[in-house]
Symmetry: C2
Subunit: 121 residues, 2 copies
Amino acid sequence: MSKQLPLAAMDACCSPLARDPLTAEQAIELSRLFKAMADPARLRLLSLIASHAGGEACVCDLTDAFELTGPTISHHLKVLRESGLITGERRGTWVYYRVHPEVLARLSAVLVPGESGVVTA
Amino acid sequence: MSKQLPLAAMDACCSPLARDPLTAEQAIELSRLFKAMADPARLRLLSLIASHAGGEACVCDLTDAFELTGPTISHHLKVLRESGLITGERRGTWVYYRVHPEVLARLSAVLVPGESGVVTA
DNA sequence: TCCTTGAATAGACAGTCATCAAAACAGTAC
DNA sequence: GTACTGTTTTGATGACTGTCTATTCAAGGA
């Protein structure tokens, strides 16, 4: 589980949008992340996990917050996982998810022109 | 032109993702913005406009950067316009677009936990 | 071992979206 | 007015996506 794209998605990206025009490749990479967040259920999942005590939440906690079936929640978690935004870990019966704050931070930095110049590394 | 959702889309949104769980309504509002950015062509358009000299770019400048037809570019610009991310203004023969940096800034603030506490309008 | 519960996968279906060609609209110049 | 250029709208089409039910997998307890 969680073997796909740890956070490699951000490797090439990017100086802030308003500094330099994105290359086609950078745009594709970035769009993958935005696409992962472009759904209300996934945004709420992300927010629930990120704001949960201890920085992680088990799927059982998440399912109750939605009027969606388990498989649908599971599908959305997979999309978030494959985009590199979260990771999941099974501990006994339950699976716990936590966010990758660095990915959110870099995404955030891309949107505002002010800070840090070119975000390499 | 550009009469739709000036930047009302952000009115209710939001404290940072990691601070409080998003409500269903907040998630829907936010997802509209992310959806608008969840396409490589639109991200590049946004970046081209934002980074263009004078803070604005005419459609003719934008079209050349893509291997897409005029109508397709126009469609993407409309999506960005309706999401409140950009505005367009006709001056004579050409139409000029510019970004709404405040919207990008608020979106950016939602992603990182650190700053500014609850972002109420 | 078998059964129960939590979670993920498989497959299907309806709705949405990106793209294009063709047509329409907006300005300018003749 | 007519012709021409730049931009948007319309309508169609193929691909993708969110959701479901049914099934399978994983772990624990009887």
